[in-house]
Every structure is written in C-alpha cells, then in structure tokens.
C-alpha cells in the first residue's frame, strides 16, 4: 500500500449521510477530493437547506432522498449504491466534519490488507482524547458492555459512525441495516456473519455546525430502542 495516493484500487466509496449540513458539507467534500482519489457520495437525507447543491458543487455524487429516513436509512442508501456500482470498500463518515479525514487511510488499512471485514474508528483508543457529556459517556459504557457480553467483540467506541467495510458486508447491509442509531445494532449483524471487526484509533471533534442527532432528551429513547432491537436481533434469522 502506498499511503500517499490511496483510492484507485480497490474501488472505494466514501459515504457521507447529511441532513441540513449546507455549511459543513461543501468544505468537507472539497477536502476529501483534494486529499484522496476515492469517489465521494453524499446521501442527502431530505434536507430542506442547500445541502444537496453544496455537495454537488464540491464534486460529490449526490443522492437526494425524497423524505427524511433517519441516519440508518440514509447510510443504507449509500451501501445500496455501492453494491449496485460494484464498489469493493465503503468508508462511512459523518457529514458534519466530526471525523478527521486524515484518519481515513488508518480505517481502510485493515480492510485493504484483508485483516478485517469491518474496521471501526474509535475515539477512545490511543492518544485521541475525547470528552463528552455525562449521559453520552454513560451510554457508551452501557453499549460497550452490551456488545462485549453478547458478541464477544471488544469494543471501546460502540456508537462510532466512522468505519470501513468490505464487499460482503456492503451486500449484507444493503439488505439489512437498522433505521435509526444503527452502529450498535450493526455489531450483532457482524457477529451473525462471523465478520472480523477491528477498532482503530481516530480523532473526532465536537460539531462545528448544525445540531447533533443525539440530544440528552433523546438519550433515553436511544438506549431503550437500541437495547430492544439489539436483543431482538439476537433472536432473528438472516437469509
């Protein structure tokens, strides 16, 4: 691997779900295109602001969802697109600039070398310091325990939305992907597929623009919903 010019082979797609991100999406897409050769796909999740145009002007492929599907539905659209267009690897990062794009090669490395089927960026590994609100940290600890106990994956950052997956997972996720708050649920799906998942240290920042989809108010709903769908996924069969 030549870390200087990633992106020609294998065929890699960067998927950015975006909802009302007209200010941050343009610069983000532009810096991705300047730095890497990967195709950049923005899934505009029914935004009513200029997200779609800003992304297109910056050189992204844009899919405009006619209505807001939630983060899981938007990301799944990206997997669907990647599956149809024959991409080998998908990198998914947030559309709001929270994830450090310079860390993309680190997240891709385990996939490209075949060491893992999924590589998840963790803000808690290595020296990447992260401070969050108390409910958020509590939620993360809770999900960490849930994932560890039920699947055996040793995760430090179960809610991370910065990850890369290979072709078999792209195909699977294009059929089965949770609608909202999908990251924790995805561990059960990966466990079912006997996927090899590894975490790599990445940097994450506080949001520069827009509002987080997870407010303290919604944290309780988030925990209950994710726990429920997680436990139900344990009982489910997948074709």
């Amino acid at each position: 691997m030549n870390p200087g010019m990633e992106g020609t082979s294998p065929h890699t797609l960067v998927v950015l779900p975006a909802y009302q991100e007209e200010r941050s999406i343009g610069p983000l897409v532009r810096s991705l295109r300047e730095r890497f050769l990967y195709d950049v796909l923005v899934v505009n999740d029914g935004s009513t602001d200029g997200t779609s145009d800003a992304a297109r002007e910056a050189g992204a492929i844009v899919l405009d969802l006619p209505c807001n599907l939630g983060i899981g539905g938007a990301v799944q659209t990206g997997f669907h697109y990647a599956r149809d267009r024959g991409y080998d690897v998908v990198v998914r990062i947030d559309g709001d600039g929270q994830h450090e794009i310079e860390d993309i090669p680190k997240v891709l490395e385990p996939i490209l070398t075949g060491r893992a089927d999924a590589a998840i960026g963790s803000r808690f590994l290595g020296e990447a310091g992260y401070r969050g609100s108390i409910p958020r940290i509590f939620g993360i600890r809770f999900f960490r325990l849930l994932v560890n106990v039920t699947t055996g994956y040793r995760v430090t950052d179960p809610t991370s939305g910065f990850f890369a997956i290979n072709r078999p997972l792209i195909e699977f996720y294009s059929h089965h992907y949770p609608s909202d708050y999908p990251e924790v649920d995805a561990y059960i799906l990966m466990h079912r597929l006997k996927s090899r998942a590894v975490e790599v240290p990445v940097r994450m920042y506080e949001r520069a623009e827009g509002k987080s989809s997870i407010t303290t108010y919604r944290a309780v709903y988030y925990m209950v919903k994710v726990t429920l769908s997680y436990l139900i996924n344990c009982l489910r069969r997948f074709a």
Partner: protein, 115 residues
Amino acid sequence: MSRVTILSIVASAALLLYILEMVRRRKLREEYSILWLFGSVVILVLSLKKNWLDSLAHALGIVYPPSFLFLVGILFILLILIHFSIAISKLHMMNKKMAQEIAMLKNQQGPQADH
C-alpha cells in the same frame, strides 16, 4: 331483553353493515376488514343468543354476562390494533425502500434533474 343487550345488538349490527358497505365501496380493503367483520359477528351472535352468552360467561366465572361482551369487544380491538401496528411497520419498510430507489433513479437521470 335488557337494554344493554339491545344496545349491543344494534351497535354490532350497525358496525357489521357499515364495514360491509365500506368494503363494497372499496374504501376498506378486504384484508383489513376480516377482523372487524369477525369481531362484530361474534358480538352480534352473543347478543342475540342470550343463553350462549350466559353459559360462556358462567364457564369463565363472570357474574354479569354482558360484561363478557365488553371483554370480547376489547380483545378484538386489541387484535385489530396489533394488526395495524404490523401493517404500519410494513408500510414503513416499503416507504424506505421506495425513497432509496427514488434517490438512485434521480441520480441516474442526471444531477440537474432535481425538480
């Protein structure tokens, strides 16, 4: 015949006719009418055949037989609501798939074809 029995005969008969009429006019799909029809027929029969209602209520240890009618009614309403929740979930899934397909079709038509 007690007044509550008359009320339940009239109400369940009216419900039955109303559902049938809605299905006939295609305002209600057959698949969604089955539980309604079945529920109203059961209540109508139990209201007409007082001795059936009495013996069923007695067998279940219900002192006041007409309250068994309410129980049956509530159970059917519960079933119908669960049926709706399932139907909504199915529509939700189909809606999601269609939104995703529309987004991809719009993209294939060319990036400018937004409106």
